[in-house]
C-alpha cells in the first residue's frame, strides 16, 4: 500500500466523483426548486445510456478514426442531453405539475412510479442482461509514469464535466433565467408576484438537470463500459447521497459532494473491499443526515408553519 497506490485511488475517485457530481446536479436543482426528490433521475440517465448505445451502433462509431470519434462523442453528449432534458420536461408536465399543491408524499410516490416505467422501457430497450458499451477511446496512459494511470477515458470525463460545470455556474449566476431560478427556489409565490413565470422556470430547471444527466449517461457508458436496465437505482442513490452530503439545493455543494463520494467509494473499494462500498456510502449518508442535515455547504432552513 504505497503512496502511489493511494494517489492512484484518489485519481480514480475524483474522476468517478466528477461523474457522480454531474448526476447529483440534476437531483439538487430539482429539489432546490420544487422540493421533490426525483427518484426517476437515475433511471432517466439509464435511458440516456440506452440511447447512447443505440446511437453508437447506428452511426458505426466503433470504426471511426480518432478525430471523428471525438466529434462523435460531442454529438452523443448533445443528443443524449437533449433527449434526457426533453424527457424530463415532459415527465414534469404530465406527472409532477398537476401535483404542485398536493401533499409532499404525492410527487415522491409518483416519481417512484415514473422510475418503474423508465426501468420497464429500459428492460425492453436493452434486454434483461447487462450490455457492454464499446470502448471508443484508447486506454493508453497519458502520464509518463508506470505506477500512476491517467487514460484518455479519465481525460474525457474531465473534458466534458469541466465545461458543463462552468457553463452551469455562468447560467445560474449571470443570466436572467438563473436569477429567476434562484428566486423561485427561495419563494415561488414572491417570485410569481414580481413577474417570474414560475412554470417556465421549473421546466427550464428540469431541462438543465436532464441535460446534465444525459451528458453523464454518455460518460458513464464510455467510462464504466457496462450498462443495464437496473443501473439507474444504484447510481441515482450515490448521486443523491452526494447531493445531500453537499447540502441539497446547493449547486457547488452537489459538486463537492460528488467528489467526496467518489473518493470515499474508491478508497473504500481499495482498502475495505468492494462489496462493502455500498454499505459504507449509505452509512455516511445516515451519519451526515443525523449530525448535519443541511449538508456541507447547505443553509439551515427553518421548518415553516
Amino acid at each position: 500500500m504505497s503512496v502511489q497506490f493511494l494517489l492512484q485511488q484518489c485519481l480514480i475517485g475524483l474522476t468517478n466523483g466528477a461523474l457522480i457530481a454531474l448526476v447529483a446536479l440534476g437531483y439538487t436543482m430539482v429539489y432546490g426548486i420544487i422540493g421533490l426528490i426525483n427518484f426517476a433521475h437515475g433511471d432517466l440517465i439509464m435511458l440516456g445510456a440506452c440511447l447512447a448505445l443505440s446511437l453508437v451502433g447506428a452511426l458505426g462509431m466503433t470504426a471511426a478514426g480518432p478525430a471523428t470519434t471525438w466529434v462523435g462523442i460531442g454529438g452523443l453528449v448533445l443528443l443524449c442531453g437533449l433527449f434526457c432534458g426533453l424527457l424530463n420536461v415532459a415527465v414534469d408536465r404530465i406527472v409532477y405539475k398537476p401535483l404542485r399543491n398536493a401533499p409532499k408524499l404525492a410527487p415522491l410516490v409518483s416519481a417512484i412510479g415514473v422510475s418503474f416505467i423508465f426501468m420497464n422501457v429500459g428492460l425492453f430497450w436493452l434486454g434483461p442482461a447487462d450490455k457492454s458499451f464499446p470502448e471508443l477511446l484508447p486506454s493508453t496512459n497519458l502520464l509518463h509514469n508506470d505506477a500512476l494511470q491517467f487514460t484518455w477515458k479519465d481525460l474525457l470525463v474531465v473534458l466534458i464535466v469541466g465545461p458543463l460545470m462552468v457553463a452551469l455556474s455562468v447560467l445560474v449566476k449571470g443570466t436572467k433565467l438563473g436569477k429567476a431560478m434562484r428566486a423561485v427556489s427561495q419563494d415561488p409565490t414572491a417570485a410569481a408576484l414580481v413577474g417570474v413565470d414560475v412554470d417556465r422556470v421549473i421546466a427550464a430547471t428540469f431541462f438543465i438537470g436532464g441535460f446534465l444527466g444525459g451528458a453523464a449517461s454518455v460518460i458513464y457508458g464510455l467510462y464504466i463500459n457496462t450498462i443495464g436496465f437496473q443501473m439507474g437505482f444504484q447510481n441515482g442513490l450515490y448521486a443523491f447521497t452526494a447531493a445531500v452530503l453537499g447540502g441539497i439545493g446547493s449547486i457547488p455543494g452537489a459538486v463537492l459532494g460528488g467528489l467526496v463520494i467518489g473518493l470515499v467509494r474508491a478508497l473504500a473499494s481499495a482498502y475495505v473491499g468492494e462489496r462493502w462500498t455500498g454499505a459504507i456510502v449509505f452509512a455516511i449518508l445516515i451519519v451526515i443526515l443525523v449530525f448535519r442535515p443541511e449538508g456541507l455547504l447547505g443553509r439551515r432552513v427553518k421548518e415553516k408553519v
Binding site: 412510479g113 418503474f116 443526515l289 442535515p293
Partner: protein
Amino acid sequence: MATNRAPRTSSPPAPSAGPWDFLAERWELVTLAVLAIAPLVIPALGGALGGQVTNLFIYCILALALNVMVGYTGLVHLGIASFFGIGAYCLAILTVPMYPFQIGFLAAAVIAVLVTAGTGLALGAPTLRLRGDYLAIVTLGFGEVVKVTLRNLEQITGGMKGLNPVPPPGAGVTLAGIDLGKEFAIDPRWFYYLALLSLAGVVLAMRRLENSRLGRALVAVREDELAAQAMGISATKVKLSAFAMSSAVAGLAGCLYAASLSTTADPNAYDFNRSIMVLCAVILGGLGSIPGTLLGVAILVGFDTVLAPWADSWIQQMNINPKGLSYLSFSGWRLAIFGVALVLVMRYRPEGLIPSRRLAAELHEGGAGS
C-alpha cells in the same frame, strides 16, 4: 386549510340494518370466518395454493406494519423490508441447527420481534428530527446497509445461501399425541392457520391502536406536527412508538416468512424492491386504512401469482409470441403497470381504493373542499 373536516366518529348505525350493512361493518369477522373454513372445504389449500395464500397473509402483516408509519403517522419509510429481513434472520439464528441456541419457535419469535423493535428505535431515535423526505432517504439507505451486511457477513448469515433449515414451529413439541413439528412439515394448512391467526391478531391490534390515545396522537402528528405539539403531544415519543411498532410487526412477518419457507432465502429477498412493492400495496389500497391495506396486498400479490401467469399462458396458447419477446408477454410489463398505477393513483385518488376517511379529508384539503 379546509374549514370543515370529515367527522371523526363513524356514523351511528342505520335504523334498518340490512344484511349488507352487517357485512360492511363486520367485514373482518366475515372474512376471517370464510378464510378459516376455506381449507376444510377447498382441498387445494392443502397443497401449493395453501403456501401462496400463507404468503399473502404474511405480506398483509408486513403491509400493516408499514401502514403504521406511512398511513397513520405520515412518515415515508422506504426500508420496511430490512426489518422483515432482520426478523427472519433473528428467528433463523435462534432456531437453526448451525447455532447452539435452538430455542423453540415461540420464544425465538418473541426475541426476534423485540430485536426488530429495538433496531427500529435505534434507527429512529437519531433520525426522527429530520424532514420527511430526508427520513425516507435514511430508511432507504438503512435498507441497503442491512442488505449488504446480510450478504457479506457470511460466517453469521450464510451469505447468499441464507440460513437453513429453519425448523417448523412446534418441532419436538407433542400435544395430545400429535407431533406438532411433523404436522407443520407435512401439511401446509398448519402454516395457513398460523399465519391467519397472526394476521387476525395484528388486525385486531391495529383496530385497537386506531381508537387508542396513542393512535390518535399518531394521526395528529401526521396532520399537523406543530399543532399536535402545541396540544401537549410529544411528537418525538409518538414517532418513536410508531417506529418501534412498525418494526416489531414487520419482524413478526419476517419470522413467519422464514419459518414457512424453512429458510431465510438470500438477502436479496429483503431489498428495496420488496419495500417498494409493500409501499405500493399500502398506497394503492388506501393509506391509513386497514381494509385498504389488505386489499392492496391482495391486488398486488394476486397480480403476481394469479393474473400475470394466467395472462402469460393465454398469450402462449394464442401463439402471439412465438419468439418469446419480453414486450409481448404480460409479465414483461409488470414494472410499467405498477408505475402507471402509482402515478394514476397519486393523481386522481391519492387516498387509495378504500380510503381512510380522515386521510381522504386531509389529502383533498385546499382542493375542492373535503
